[in-house]
């Protein structure tokens, strides 16, 4: 089990757990980030900037802070 933080550009993983408080989970759910969904890192902004990620047809930018709370399973792919 790793976090989204450890994926490099172009890699994907399956969301295992959202390790955060209930409200933030709710928010991420509404944006399409749910357990069991495939998440792909499209690119990372320079200077430890945000991640550009894709879930289904939705693309988001997410900061490292939040990315570190998303646990994924990259070996399944």
């Amino acid at each position: 089990m790793t976090t989204l933080l450890e994926l490099s550009e172009g890699q994907s993983g399956i969301i295992q757990k959202l390790d955060m408080d209930r409200l933030l989970i709710h928010r991420l759910h509404a944006m399409g980030l749910k357990r069991g969904k495939k998440i792909t890192v499209l690119r990372k902004a320079p200077l430890k900037g945000p991640f550009h990620i894709m879930i289904d047809t939705t693309e988001l930018m997410i900061r490292e802070q939040e990315a570190s709370l998303i646990q994924i399973n990259s070996s399944a792919l």
């Binding site: 509404a30 902004a45 900037g49 550009h52 289904d56 693309e59 988001l60 930018m61 802070q65 939040e66």
Partner: protein
Amino acid sequence: MKRIALLGMPNTGKSTLFNRLSGSSARIGNWPGITVDLHVVKTILAGHMAELIDLPGIYDLQGLSEDEKIVQTFINHNKIDLAIVVLCSAQIERQLSLLLQLQKLNIPCVLALNMHDEAKKMGISINAALLEKKLKIPVVKTSAKFGEGMTELLKASSQLMSQNVATPIKKISPLNSSDQISHQKTIQTLIQLTVKYPTKLNDKNTKKLDALFLNPFWGLPIFFIIVFSIFQFIFTLGKPIQDLMAQFFNFFRADYLEPLFTNHHGIFQSLLLDGLYLGVTTIAAFVPIIILFFLIMSVVEDSGYFSRAAFLMDALMEKIGLDGRGFVMMLMGFGCNVPALIGTKIMRTKELRLLTMFVIPFSLCSARLQVFLFIITALFNAKYGPLVLFCLYLLSFFTIFISALIFKNQFKNKEPIIIELPPYRFPTMNHIIKRSVLEIKHFLTRATKFITIGVLLVWALTHFPMDVPIASELTYSGQLGKWLSPIFQPIGINEQLVIALIFGFIAKEIVIGALAVIYGAEGTALIHHLYSNVTQIQAISFMIFTLIYTPCLSTIATLKNESKNLSFVIYSVSWALLMAWVFSFIFYQTSLYFSS
């Protein structure tokens, strides 16, 4: 009066749909407990007078973000007869949850599957008829951008409204986890039944454009070129229009108004011309810039580039508590602070927006530039002049960054910054023009009173008592200047210049005019007068103070309009005054020390 709410997630084309349905008659409405402006339009539906309200785009009914709170308050305090739920067809799987949450409250809903053209292009097909049956509500495929499905949507809405269901609407209560799971299951079944996805999603254009715009090497240079071009476009086009307007206003004053009032008492004429008329023209000068700004910003926003800019600048701006979008607005402030402040609307988290609004007034706008150019030409030679100006720009950036750093904990952003990067889309002219018109209407209605009162106040200060020369040391402003001299003396600003600062409070454009009145000299004569009466060090100190102390009445009025928070405005202006004094003091005293 029936009440129809337009609801949907961000980036679903909800506002475009609102514009389609509203024609050009939208206005800004006020609602109990809600502190932001909502667009509303009156219309007739199924023989009922109805008001259609464009609620902010939200991801979720439950959340705690500013926009979510607004929608919650609205739903809990206002009876909604019908909700038109707008979703982006290509993202139906993620967006259906909002609809289910609304249905759970017993609000009658009509579902608009918007951007169905886009979904079709991506190879996604939705069986609307089956979805309608399963959800038990009317489902209409629309494309607000091309005006498709609008009549069908209105028809479905009026049919539903005439059915007159009398189920009491529930208040929003927290979703428990069993609700959440059942929602998820419902959505899964619905999607499996009604939506067909292609084996591989077909959105090559967005991928290609992102590869260019978000390129680790080229992304930032392209970003700066784009921002620079926007800036150039707005202000090189806006300036001549502003100048033309100023010429017209002067001509109108000299040829029509002044002859009209020659027979009247001097003070009455002065009140009308130097007071009210000045106020009106001050406000009018902003109109072309605001319109141009929103024309361009709507394009940038609707195209999807704005969130890319946020992505690019985020790493840097995060350190000072802002985000990439704030950076764009801050740069726009270097043209004019007023539209930049209104433009922060796009940032949907309150603290982030307030902090951005807090720092924008320190951007060296074109009006301040005019003052600096005049003073620099008067007092510095061609060798040092540009250097002085360059340092003022540096100082402007410095004050922005230092203020953001100092206050970032006070306006601490509690929301996670997760921003959607929607596909690149071609903006539609219709939507863009309507948005600009609405923004300008809003500025005029809200700012006029505030600015007029401010102008009249300054007029009274500089014209009373009546038997002394205008703007002289004997007027109230002069007395105020004398009274304030213990404060301004240590920073090298004399009493006459204090009067100019009081004028500058209205708008920087009139500072030079004010100096002309104060010193009783114009043009080259004024330049000579300044040259022999003000030292270079004093002049720089005056410019530092002018840069920081407060941009203009219109900026303050806009701060008030947009924040809806008077104490925020007072806080912001006090900080500006304090910082202006401290920087001028440091500069003036060290320069004196080293030059002696």
